[in-house]
């Protein structure tokens, strides 16, 4: 009785320490059980029965209980259990139906104590009463459970499950007299130990065998059961009918289940087939294991938590002949590896994003937030126009504007639908497209169209004035240079296009050159900004020269200016492409105040040298090349197109390509063009803009693209005699070897247009058939078919 006084299982003052470790056994293990001191473990199997001491760094074999020369079947253990109150008391279940108890206190080498040979078949499970020193329960393949009093030679009572083999028996921790048993046929029974005649309760827990069960150490009404149906179910046994509280779906059949100490919702499972891993599940999170131990190379047969109050040490035995101690902190945690977020760019620039609803983990840090139902959330985002290309800078990445309801790709659709690409003179096309772009608030693009118009449409008008003007310019060679300086200055100070205009208005040193093209834009669209200033500038320019001369000069000025003007555009076009709404004045003001100005300034600054160098080059050309054919700009226009394409606006690239046609095509290599076309067509098709896409395909000059329209058109022709599909040749039927294209009316072979009814395959000359149909709707061949022609 002295031992009884030490029954408390509180964790000793010094907490357990140890490592993840394993040791090799001589033979595969079938079961393990831990001594209540948490320092020893017994391993039992068909040909092994040993006690190991669990030391800090390793397992040390302490005792081999298999003694005697010839191995007895009694020693072939299916299960082993160590008494949780008596350090010296063990029981094993043998495959031949014998239940053996062992007393480690015996002085002799053979520790065998009692032998009960009452079961007829393999005993699957033995279980000591949790608080009674002498009560042992066994469950056998023969369908019976027996209760033994270790002070007697035979069983006290026998319980008949009335069903199939017993797979597990477990004494309840809550009720002194109650135990649960699980059966091969999927049933779970609850027994009162005093009433062997019939069970207290029975219910079907699983499909197929229930291999194991375990009472919850704290929530004592809870029973976990594991079955071949790959499920672990947690039952509340306190209610009238057993109620399923949780259900965990594992990957393989569940051979053992053990609640994790101190963690209310955790349990460990292992499988007897296929899967070698040990999983720890949070029952509230039934799909992903909370932890996973992957040490074993063969099926894990026994698992046991080392100490009933320590959640971090798990011991396991396996068919791979190893004994392992697993540390929870070394476990792999599939939950951690699992991707908590889904992210996808939608077509219209919207973003589908799935994330945890709450990323704050529950109190323990390991337990996931209970019942976390998670929803994907849609974000529609709009890019800050001040954001530099691709948001390569970190700061820009984190800035968005709230713009509910406006999809950032709507400009694409609108533009695609409204652009005119052919069928009108170039100037009109440019104007139209410019207008479209402006209406959509894409001023940069609008400007580009306007510029293209200037470049390509005017030279024919003023072939002679070119000379005239360049002479004039040659005389004032400071002018273009100054111009380029101006631009640079501006570029540095500029945050936006409107400010460009404003500063133009302010800069008195400005020249005609600048204004001449600037007015083209500002006159038309920028009333809301400094529109009034600009005409003033124009006037200023006017004052410098004669009226009509300036008028003639205008386009030419634009020429010389083109390089300078186009290039600054390149410095910050994305802003304009992405903006969905027209940048109102306040809008721009905001941007000017925002920290992003610095970003765009830097951007501009870095590009400024390029501006100036280009402008200088162009200036020299302007000075010495008196004639400026549009060809001169084509390289530049190509650069611009490439630039647009690179910004992701293939739409612009392709549209310009189509509109300008021969003018630029030769300067861009075929492959690039093709690639643009292909990209644009693909985009159009994604947006279901079939008409536009078809138009683009038609207008494309690239062979690979234009053949797209023929690619998927198949014509199925049937022979008019035998009604079989004609495979190889279109004219002669393979089967009946007759010419298929006979006119049903005049019975001559049809050359040229041949119409036929798709229903009966009969047809003939267009005129004949039309004539025939006026009089009758039946087939002229007399087949009785009501022909339909569309």
């Amino acid at each position: 009785m002295e031992k009884m006084s030490r029954v408390t299982t509180a964790l000793s003052s010094s907490a357990l320490t140890g490592h993840t470790m394993h040791c090799h056994l001589d033979a595969p293990a079938n079961a393990i059980s831990v001594c209540r001191d948490a320092a020893q473990v017994v391993v039992a199997g068909r040909s092994i029965f040993k006690i190991y001491a669990i030391e800090e760094e390793q397992f040390v074999e302490k005792l081999n209980l298999r003694v005697g020369r010839k191995p007895s079947l009694n020693l072939s253990c299916a299960d082993v259990v160590w008494h949780q109150m008596d350090e010296n008391l063990l029981a094993t279940a043998a495959t031949n139906g014998v239940v053996v108890t062992w007393n480690l206190g015996r002085p002799s080498r053979n520790k065998q104590d009692q032998l009960f040979t009452e079961h007829k078949r393999t005993v699957n499970k033995v279980c000591f009463h949790p608080s009674e020193a002498h009560v042992l329960l066994s469950g056998s393949q023969d369908g019976f459970m027996k209760c033994f009093d270790l002070r007697r030679k035979d069983s006290v009572s026998t319980f008949s499950g009335q069903s199939e083999s017993v797979r597990d028996v477990q004494f309840s921790i809550r009720d002194y007299f109650t135990f649960a048993s699980t059966f091969e046929n999927g049933n779970v029974q609850l027994w009162d130990i005093r009433r062997p005649d019939r069970c207290e309760r029975m219910f079907t827990a699983h499909n197929g065998p229930v291999f194991c069960c375990d009472w919850h150490p704290e929530d004592r009404g809870w029973l976990a059961t594991g079955g071949r149906d790959k499920m672990v179910k947690v039952w509340d046994m306190t209610t009238q009918r057993a109620k399923e509280v949780h259900c965990v779906q594992t990957i393989a059949s569940v051979a053992r289940v053990k609640w994790r100490p101190e963690c209310r919702h955790h349990l460990a499972t292992c499988s007897m087939m296929v899967d070698h891993n040990i999983y720890v599940w949070d029952v509230r999170r039934p799909f992903v294991p909370a932890a996973m131990f992957e040490e074993h190379r063969d099926v894990t047969t026994g698992i046991a938590w080392r100490h009933p109050h320590d959640p971090s040490f798990l011991l396991s035995g396996s068919k791979d002949s190893t004994l392992c101690q697993h540390l929870f902190r070394d476990a792999s945690q599939p939950v951690e590896r699992a991707n908590p977020e889904g992210l996808c760019y939608g077509l219209f620039g919207d973003l589908a994003f799935a994330a945890k609803e709450s990323l704050v983990a529950a109190e323990s840090g390991r337990k996931p937030y209970a019942g976390d139902r998670r929803h994907p959330i849609f974000f529609k985002r709009k890019l800050d126009p001040a954001e530099p290309f691709a948001g390569l800078a970190s700061s820009a990445l984190s800035v968005f504007e709230m713009e509910p309801g406006s999809g950032s790709m709507s400009w694409f659709v609108d533009t695609a639908e409204r652009y005119a690409l052919a069928g009108r003179p170039l100037a009109e096309l440019c104007d139209h497209n410019s207008k479209v772009a402006r209406e959509l608030g894409r001023n940069q693009v609008a400007q580009t169209w306007t510029m293209l118009r200037i470049i390509y449409c005017s030279p024919g008008l003023v072939p002679t004035t070119n000379l005239n003007h360049s002479v004039g310019k040659g005389s004032s060679c400071g002018l273009p240079l100054m111009n380029s300086f101006n631009l640079k200055d501006m570029a540095q100070g500029l945050g936006s296009e409107t400010r460009l205009d404003r500063s133009k208005g302010d800069t008195r040193s400005d020249t005609v050159l600048l204004d001449s093209s600037a007015t083209l834009i500002t006159n038309e669209d920028n009333e809301e900004t400094e529109g009034s200033d600009v005409p003033a500038d124009y006037l200023l320019g006017d004052a410098e020269g004669e009226d009509d001369e300036l008028y003639l000069l205008d386009p030419d000025h634009a020429h010389t200016e083109e390089p300078e003007y186009v290039l600054p555009q390149e410095a910050f076009p994305l802003r304009h492409e992405i903006v969905d709404t027209p940048p109102g004045p306040e809008n721009l003001q905001d941007k000017a105040d925002s920290p992003h100005v610095s970003g765009s300034e830097a951007d501009v600054a870095s590009l400024a040298p390029m501006d100036s160098s280009f402008s200088l080059v162009s200036v020299s050309h302007a000075l010495y090349d008196s004639r400026l054919p549009p060809d001169f700009f084509s390289a530049l226009v190509c650069d611009m197109l490439r630039f647009y394409a690179e910004q992701g606006d293939v739409q612009m690239a392709v549209s310009v390509l189509i509109v300008l046609g021969e003018r630029v095509r030769k300067d861009i290599d075929e492959q690039t063009q093709e690639h643009w076309y292909a990209s644009y067509i693909d985009l159009l098709q994604r947006f279901c803009l079939w008409n536009v896409s078809n138009q683009v395909v038609k207008l494309s000059t690239s062979r690979a693209i234009s053949c797209l329209n023929q690619a998927s058109t198949t014509l199925h022709v049937n022979c008019s005699h035998c009604k079989r599909p004609m495979s190889s040749r279109g004219w002669v039927c393979d089967r009946c070897h007759r010419c298929a294209s006979m006119c049903a009316v005049c019975h001559h072979v049809v050359k040229g247009l041949f119409v036929w009814c798709q229903g009966c395959s009969h047809g003939g000359h267009l005129q004949h058939i039309m004539k025939w149909l006026e009089g009758s709707s039946h087939c002229p061949a007399g087949c009785g078919h009501l022909c339909e022609y569309s």
Binding site: N339, L351, H675, A704
Partner: protein
């Protein structure tokens, strides 16, 4: 900064791991730890559950839509080591193929550009990448790259279809000779680029090294405009890199650190015009 325009109640019972929109942006497929894949019609801001696909026996990590020219096809990959290809026939979604060639969790699936035919790349925790090619009549041909990444492969992403050399001489109707390439990221902290050799074997073409922890996602930018190649990658180490290769002949890639986050970055996703990159990080910051 961003506004929620729509919340979809997926009624998934556990964490959602991936959400993908189809080619036309009309349908959204989600997959979850609860072993199911769900498809929603999200046209006009609506959210109608079209299909609830059950068949996986473990958490489903990723889904991928095939190009619509092959019909409505969705691939999903799961912890249960399986890749399932689902197909819509007459309005009902059904499993058309199940690939069980991996020894561990399959983490990523990605369809090749439609120009190549129906090819699916799958990256798995067993370190291998398998390529399933549809050969017609319900048959799939499997090629496996073993030991692509030690410890495991987390992400695969195809390069857009770009034709080497000129197309001009191609007789029309004949399939151009594409060079198939894809990128993969794995637990060895590497991004690897793979290229199909002329004999149909896949060969490691390039190893990109910059991350100091597991690479979580790679995304090859859609090639719009100039054919410069760009790849975005993100990692457990919180860093997001954008790799560019300007000179295709030398095949040298240079990384540019986009940003360093404080926590794991799970996803990178390009917008269709390749000028916006979305990044998702575990602190629920949506960038």
């Amino acid at each position: 900064m961003v506004s929620v325009i729509n919340t979809v109640d997926t009624s998934h019972e556990d964490m959602i791991h991936d959400a993908q929109m189809d080619y036309y942006g009309t349908r959204l497929a989600t997959c979850s730890s609860d072993r199911s894949v769900k498809i929603f019609d999200v046209r006009n801001g609506g959210q109608i559950l079209i299909a609830d696909l059950r068949g996986h026996e473990g958490p489903v990590w990723q889904v991928a839509w095939a190009h619509p020219m092959y019909g409505n096809i969705l691939a999903s990959c799961s912890y249960d080591r399986k890749v399932i290809i689902w197909k819509e026939e007459n309005g009902t979604w059904e499993k058309t193929h199940e690939h069980t060639g991996h020894d561990s969790s399959v983490n990523s699936v990605c369809w090749a550009p439609h120009d190549y035919g129906l090819i699916l790349a799958c990256g798995s925790s067993d370190g291998a990448i398998s390529l399933l090619t549809y050969t017609g009549e319900g048959q799939w041909d499997v090629k496996k790259i073993n030991n692509a990444h030690t410890i495991g492969c987390n992400a695969v992403s195809w390069a857009p279809a770009v034709v080497p050399g000129s197309l001009i001489d191609q007789p029309s109707g004949q399939k151009p000779n594409y060079i198939k390439k894809f990128a993969s990221g794995g637990c060895d902290n590497l991004i690897k680029l793979w290229k199909e050799e002329e004999d149909g074997q896949w060969k490691e073409e390039q190893k990109l090294e910059a991350h100091s922890d597991w690479v979580r996602d790679v995304a090859w930018a859609p090639s719009i405009g100039l054919p410069t190649s760009t790849i975005a990658s993100c990692s457990q180490d919180g860093r997001v890199f954008v790799w560019t290769c300007d000179d295709a002949s030398s095949n040298t890639w240079s990384p540019k650190l986009l940003h360093k986050f404080n926590d794991v970055v799970w996803h990178v996703s390009w917008s269709i015009t390749a000028n916006i990159l979305a990044v998702s990080e575990s602190q629920q910051n949506e960038q």
